[in-house]
């Protein structure tokens, strides 16, 4: 069966404008001594302003690499080998980030100013021996021509805005003097210092305790509204998705297997993987002794990518002679787009 590639059009009802970032056919590979690791293998993605797009998947599914590919901060030996990342700065222009030289001035101007990013480990994502305030001021100075005093004022304002008490004192603090939550707030303050149009948050709450998690997510949501920015949130936590997402892409081994708006995904997950993920979450009213079904097996080694559909080795509904032959394309099925042969004939027949 020839591979069918379909460009999913943005939902015209909810978004009349063009997406902020439009990713098409993105492939990011790692060229290691032992072989090529296909961390991102043909991903299409649209991120809209003022919307939160969640990327959901197990660990090792290439989510982070996908996010980092946007900012072109994938470490060697990783490389974008194919695809485009179209970014629209809002002035009518559009640039393909995938074609830009990493480290070029144009790209660096976009980083931190147009697109900002926060990371999973607030403990180690801040420079360990530089004062927090200085790190924020530094970001401001990178993109704005302001005086030192102004930058400091802005930084303290930002710290205040992200909910850090006594911001002018904390301005002088070193990261190791702050708690994890405070550090993540500081990270957010730093990311927001130039009012970015897109915030990429790579598992921002994983390392935090539950209460702090909620606070941080709320903060991100609030700030999204206020700054009207797009948010790309990477997580393996369905709870987080349920709480903040508007659009969701489910990824497995470097591919998007299902995508749609949050309600469709939760209401009617189609892909066996998505379904399995949903089942592994405890639900309200569930019996206490109920044993959560886990997805069987582990994510295969990236170098031992199964032929055909990558998920077939763990899929309870895998069809011999079908799933191991070809890779399914992403096709509309129900309310979501799904990449699974279970639904392809159905769609085709329509």
């Amino acid at each position: 069966m020839p591979q069918i590639r379909m460009h999913t059009e943005p939902d015209q009802t909810s978004h009349t404008v063009q997406p902020l970032v439009e990713i098409r056919g993105l492939k990011t590979h790692f060229f290691t001594d032992d072989g090529v690791v296909k961390a991102v293998e043909g991903v299409d993605l649209d991120i809209h302003a003022n919307r939160t797009h969640c990327i959901l998947g197990e660990s090792g599914c290439g989510k982070s690499i996908m996010a980092r590919s946007i900012l072109r901060i994938v470490d060697a030996p990783g490389k974008i080998v194919e695809g485009s990342i179209i970014y629209r700065p809002g002035d009518g222009r559009s640039v393909d980030l995938a074609k830009m030289r990493p480290g070029s001035r144009d790209l660096r101007e976009i980083r931190g100013q147009d697109i900002a990013m926060i990371f999973q480990e607030p403990m180690s994502s801040l420079g360990p021996i530089t004062k927090v305030g200085k790190q924020i001021v530094e970001t401001i100075h990178l993109h704005r021509r302001v005086s030192k005093a102004e930058a400091k004022e802005q930084a303290i304002e930002l710290l205040d805005k992200v909910g850090i008490p006594r911001p002018s004192e904390r301005f002088e603090a070193y990261p190791f003097e702050l708690s994890g939550g405070m550090r993540q707030r500081a990270m957010i303050a730093m990311a927001l210092s130039c009012r970015p149009r897109l915030l990429i948050a790579d598992e921002p709450t994983t390392a935090l305790d539950v209460t702090t998690q909620a606070q941080i997510l709320d903060l991100i949501a609030e700030l999204k509204e206020e700054l009207e920015m797009g948010v790309l949130l990477i997580t393996h936590d369905l709870g987080v998705v349920a709480e903040v997402a508007e659009d969701v892409s489910v990824t497995y081994m470097g591919k998007v297997v299902e995508k749609g708006d949050v309600f469709s995904i939760f209401e009617d997950p189609r892909h066996p993987y998505t379904q399995a993920l949903m089942q592994s979450v405890p639900k309200l009213g569930m019996e206490k002794r109920h044993r959560l079904p886990a997805i069987k097996g582990m994510v295969p080694h990236p170098l031992a990518r199964p032929s055909g559909c990558a998920f077939r080795t763990r899929c309870s509904q895998a069809m011999a002679g079908v799933c191991d032959k070809d890779e399914p394309g992403l096709l509309k099925s129900g309310k979501t787009d799904v990449a699974c042969f279970l639904y392809q004939e159905e769609t085709a027949s329509v």
């Binding site: 900012l71 901060i73 470490d75 980083r111 990013m117 801040l126």
Partner: protein
């Protein structure tokens, strides 16, 4: 303001860093006292270790001139007051140093140790400083390059030469360099100035002449240190280069060069600062031989000679002073470390 308030005030006040530094400094200074005392005792033991005394050496040398003269020997033995118990000699020596700043007499030169050593210590110190600068100036960029371009041709070349620098004994390097300088550049060899400037007052020309000579010992002495530091810098920087905060900085839009210097290099700088602590004993001790071969007016040859002839107070004073300078150097480097890395201050 209550004491609790004061504490809070200090904690959050910008000065608190300074106060933490003072506590650190105070503690370290206190620790120095027993250390220095121990050093003085051990120094004295070391110089007393070899059997015999200065007069045996003198006797050996005089035999060259056609015979020994017991009269001379006897007079000299009285002269130097050798033969008292060791602890008496130690106490006398220490009390003279502590209360009069008098380090004793050089047996061989018959002048107060004070008159000989300070000049030489000055040169030692100056050359140490310049060597330190040389080491830093070569090791820093090369180390960074090696780490950033890991496994590149440049890295392999730097590594190779780094290990060569480690593997070649420096006195050998000194001898070969001196020979090359003599053979191909016709330079006067040894010493820090050309013979015509020896014993002359300092002029600009003499200073230029000094510069033309001093690079050689600095390179010779510094090579192995630089090589070691390149290795350390490379390893440390490699540890830091892939840390999340580097990615953060990159995501902020900083240029590679800027972020390299502002974040990982700063963190990896600790061993550089530590060199301040060890450069002095290394220069004085490990490089004695270089100073002998290259004929430098440093403490090295003086100390070696003093040890060989058992010129007890001269050798003892040099070891003592160098050790104390080392302790101070370690202190300075620790303070600098604490200054660079705030985490250390609060440990």
């Amino acid at each position: 303001m209550s004491s609790r308030h004061l504490a809070v005030f200090l904690w959050y006040h910008p000065w608190r860093a300074t106060s933490a530094m003072f506590g650190f400094l105070y503690r370290r200074l206190l620790y120095m006292i027993p250390t220095v005392f121990l050093i003085s005792v051990v120094t004295f033991v070391i110089i007393q270790l070899p059997p015999g005394d200065y007069l045996d050496t003198l006797a050996a040398e005089l035999s060259d001139s056609g015979g020994l003269d017991e009269g001379t020997m006897q007079a000299l033995r009285d002269q130097y007051g050798l033969g008292q118990p060791m602890y008496v000699q130690y106490l006398k020596w220490m009390s003279q140093i502590l209360f009069h700043g008098n380090f004793g007499i050089s047996f061989e030169k018959n002048i107060p140790v004070n008159d000989i050593i300070w000049d030489k210590l000055g040169w030692t110190f100056a050359i140490s400083l310049m060597t330190l600068l040389f080491i830093w100036m070569t090791a820093l960029p090369i180390g960074i390059y090696s780490a950033v371009r890991k496994y590149s041709a440049g890295d392999y070349i730097a590594t190779f030469f780094g290990f060569i620098g480690l593997a070649v004994p420096n006195f050998l390097l000194a001898l070969v360099m001196m020979y090359v300088a003599f053979k191909y550049f016709g330079q006067s060899v040894g010493g820090l100035v050309s013979p015509q400037y020896l014993g002359e007052p300092w002029t600009f020309d003499k200073f230029l002449d000094l510069l033309a000579h001093i690079w050689m010992p600095i390179v010779v002495v510094g090579t192995s240190g630089a090589a070691a530091l390149i290795r350390i810098m490379r390893a440390n920087l490699l540890d830091e280069l892939y840390r999340p905060y580097v990615v953060t900085a990159r995501a902020k839009g900083m240029s590679e060069f800027q972020l390299l210097l502002k974040y990982p290099v700063r963190v990896a700088l600790n061993p550089f600062v530590s060199t301040i602590g060890w450069i002095l004993p290394t220069l004085v001790s490990g490089e004695i031989i270089v100073a002998v071969v290259m004929n430098l007016p440093t403490t090295g040859p003086l100390l070696l000679r003093a040890l060989l002839v058992q010129d007890m107070y001269l050798a003892g004073s040099l070891i003592l002073l160098v050790s104390i300078l080392t302790v101070i150097g370690t202190l300075v480097s620790d303070l600098l470390l604490a200054w660079i890395d705030p985490r250390i201050r609060y440990q």
